[in-house]
């Protein structure tokens, strides 16, 4: 036996060398890829030592909820709301659809982590390590250059909030949610979790019980914000949850652009993000809501976002999902007034170990309402990308139009890409179209580009960039650049 083995080895000496070389190359590529991955995440992955001034116990009880409410010095109705939500949370079952949430053990999640600072409106007063964090994320720089206002949340509390003077003079309110509950109590009480009631699903109920932080925006009648407002949510503590609440009211004829950014460092234990976003777009108003989410891959991102749009109003959702371990996120629009519009532009990039279940819901509840959905997803290295949507055309939505285009790109056969839309059309006087496509980069296109002098890798990267271009051109420039960089890195070393 041994003899034959030896003979074989000598006989195939050159083969063996070629094999070795291949193996070495593969290893080198793997190393490069790992380095690149690290380099990419480095910008988000750094973590600070836990310097929180207060943390609740793990798990969830009415004592913890009451404690959070007391810490925040909240009015009684809010405490009652929290307790009612907790009760609903305990009653509701886990969803029986979508990705598995078995890994999530609520008893291990810390609901509230207070950083050792209060909210400031000057970066110099924010503790150094927190300021460093946001500087590395590029927030204060962007504020100088291109933003009308910035909110920054670190773990459970907002640490910085500021808005340009001229805007506050025009009556624009941009503050953290806690301040809003105290200072704009009338408005907040009328709107808070009315669009997304805690009965909606288990994680909204959870949010209702332990929410903390987030932003409140009010844009008065006729005011147009030239620059976007941005809130950035950073979750530093391990094994914690972030439950920020964003409430935006854009009054009649006004317009605004709000950017939400999220990131967290990687840990070995699961973190949970269950935010809630409620957007009220009044008559003739326009709101663009952009999100670039790049959570670390230990995050369960179970977020709920909803907008109600009145007559002639417009909501524009721009949604980029790159990070997290599991995401269930479906921004929804209720077109309540005549000729209300909604557009949804979404992209998700699902890599190794990720299950990104995203999509949108639209309810046409008034005549002549319009919606367009444009979704693109890429799955790679065993990642799962799911597009899930519902378009509801109610009987009164006569003359409404809806069109959806959904395209998925599969980079390899270890990955999955599912498209699960449903359409519920209840009037004949409507036009509804839905198109979906799944496929890979065609050899012909790669071949064509290669005959023009590109390497295979360049050709593929170019095709992928082209694939996401309709989305990236909707993003603010910095984000578009960032996304392209992310895609280049994700693609590097996978081909060959």
């Amino acid at each position: 036996m041994e003899k034959t083995g030896n003979l074989k080895n000598t006989g195939n000496h050159t083969d063996q060398m070629a094999k070795d070389r291949k193996a070495r190359e593969a290893e080198k590529l793997e190393r490069q890829k790992a380095m690149l991955e690290e380099a990419d995440r480095e910008r988000f992955d750094f973590r600070d030592k836990d310097q929180s001034s207060f943390k609740t116990e793990k798990g969830l009880t009415s004592e913890i909820v009451t404690e959070i409410s007391k810490m925040k010095n909240e009015p009684d109705w809010m405490l009652q709301h929290r307790l009612r939500s907790l009760e609903i949370y305990n009653r509701l079952p886990m969803p029986d659809w979508g990705p598995s949430l078995d890994e999530l053990h609520m008893d291990d999640i810390v609901a509230y982590v207070k950083p050792n600072t209060n909210m400031k409106s000057d970066w110099n007063q924010v503790p150094g390590y927190i300021k460093d964090t946001f500087e590395r994320l590029g927030i204060p720089q962007a504020e100088q250059k291109s933003l009308a206002g910035v909110g920054a949340q670190y773990d459970s509390e907002v640490v910085y909030h500021n808005i340009r003077d001229e805007l506050s003079k025009q009556g624009v309110i941009y503050t953290d949610m806690e301040t809003a509950v105290r200072e704009h109590e009338d408005m907040v009480r009328k709107l808070f979790m009315k669009l997304v009631p805690p009965e909606e699903h288990k994680f909204v109920a959870l949010h209702g019980a332990v929410w903390s932080g987030g932003s409140f925006v009010y844009v008065p009648e006729g005011v147009h914000l030239e620059f976007p407002l941005q809130s950035y949510f950073r979750l530093n503590a391990a094994g914690a949850g972030q439950f920020e609440h964003t409430l935006i009211v854009v009054d009649k004829g006004a317009s605004a652009h709000f950017i939400e950014g999220c990131s967290a460092p990687g840990y070995n234990m699961l973190n949970l993000h269950a935010g809630c976003v409620e957007l009220y777009v009044r008559e003739g108003a326009t709101l663009r809501y952009s999100t670039i989410e790049n959570w670390s891959k230990n995050m369960m991102n179970l977020n709920t976002k909803r907008a109600v749009v009145e007559k002639n109003g417009t909501i524009e959702w721009i949604s980029g999902t790159f990070g997290s371990h599991v995401t269930m996120l479906y921004p929804s629009s209720i077109l309540k007034g005549e000729e209300a519009r909604s557009t949804f532009t979404g992209i998700s990039f699902s890599g190794k170990g990720q299950n990104l279940d995203t999509g949108t819901k639209v309810v046409h509840a008034a005549p002549n309402t319009y919606s367009t959905i444009h979704s693109r997803s890429i799955s790679k290295d065993g990642g799962i990308a799911v597009y899930r949507s519902t378009v509801d055309i109610l009987p009164q939505a006569v003359g409404s139009k809806s069109s959806a285009v959904c395209e998925s790109l599969m980079m390899d056969s270890a990955s999955r890409s599912d498209t699960i839309p449903s359409l519920n059309i209840r009037t004949d006087a409507s036009d509804v179209g839905h198109e979906a496509k799944v496929g890979r980069i065609s050899d012909e296109s790669v071949f064509y580009l290669m005959t023009r002098g590109l390497t295979e890798q360049e050709a593929r990267a170019m095709i992928v960039r082209g694939f996401v271009e309709p989305i990236s051109r909707e993003l603010p420039l910095e984000y578009a650049v960032e996304m392209n960089r992310l895609i280049n890195i994700e693609l590097d070393g996978t081909i060959g």
Binding site: T390, M410, D412, D418, T427, G433
Partner: protein
Amino acid sequence: MRQDTLKQNTRDQRALKQDTKRQETGKRPNQSVLEQDLERHQGPDMEQPQGLGEHEKKVQRMQTRTWSRSYVNDAGMAVSGPDPGSFPGDAAIPASGRIIQEQSLDQVPMEEDAAGFFLPGEAGTFLDQYANRRHYLRIPRGYTEQDPIVLDLHLTGENPDLVDDVFIEAEEDSRVTVLINYTSEEGQKVRHYGRTRILAHRNAHVKLVKAQVLGKTAAHTDFIGGIAEEGARLDVVLAEIGARNPFSSCNLVLKGEGSEAELDAVYLGDGQRSLDMSCRVEHRGKKTLSRITAKGVLLEQCKKTFRDTLDFISGAAGSRGREEENVLMLSPDVRNLSAPVMLCGEENVEGDHALSSGRLDERILFYLMSRGLSEVEAKKLLAEAAVSSVVEKIPEESIQNRIRERVRKAIEKGGQMA
């Protein structure tokens, strides 16, 4: 996942059969055997969706569940079964006499049951036990006769219950068309419950046409399953025109390399009827091809749920699939639900889906009316045109005409107000 549990349950159930026979004394009057079976499986605490009829049970209809508010996950399946006995009549088989026909399914090669995908295990057991019309059609190697095998199943007051179980096995290189035609006397309370399975061996080509033109008071529950081996081709034409609340499904598995499937469905919804259909093509083999086309006309207060799924299993490299649904809605009160699902676990595939839903183009309607047609006549013409591409695939003119006639009548009755 759900399928596994159901299979498991069926097994458990068989084991339990002895015990339960003894316990059956506690049954409700008028409760069918299937109903009891289902109840035992689901338990009394199983939540029933609203609007479910007396003899209906909730069954899962989506391969992958989605949020409940989209109303497409489940549907009520009619479960009232017939009294055992045989259903009269026989299949009309082309004269050559080469086809083997048996009235029992004991000889059926049953490695995999594609129909079982949408069929709750209990309902399968029920079909096994209570079928009163069984056909095992074995098409010999190389058979290529043009004339279709016809099964005319007419339900009447004397024979109100039909449970048919048909198995078509096409041997290598054979080519066959099977036409199953369901009709009933209008106004009769008849019930049909059926299953049709196809096994197409290498390079066989099976065309199955199921035309359901039952009366509006009929109950209809139907399951189709097909498996195509290497190079085989399955053509299924499914017409759901009549019955009160038709409930049907079709699952085609492209198992062998280079196999193909084409599924054409046509439906008509009018009055207060409710239609529920689930279609799925599974691409398992390499270089498989499929196309699902559905055309429908909806009128008055009818409700329709159509789910079509393309499932590309990992390893189905080089496959292509396309699904398309066009719905013509002619009344403001219709309810039109669609769930066009595409599941993909393989990189080297192409999947496409297109759905369009809307009313008649007013300009075309105006044009036709300016040429002297009344509104209703113009609508009839356009509705017929909308479904004709599928109807024309039915190889029997009399059935084509019957379907066209039903579409015209429905519009005469319900299209006026639209």
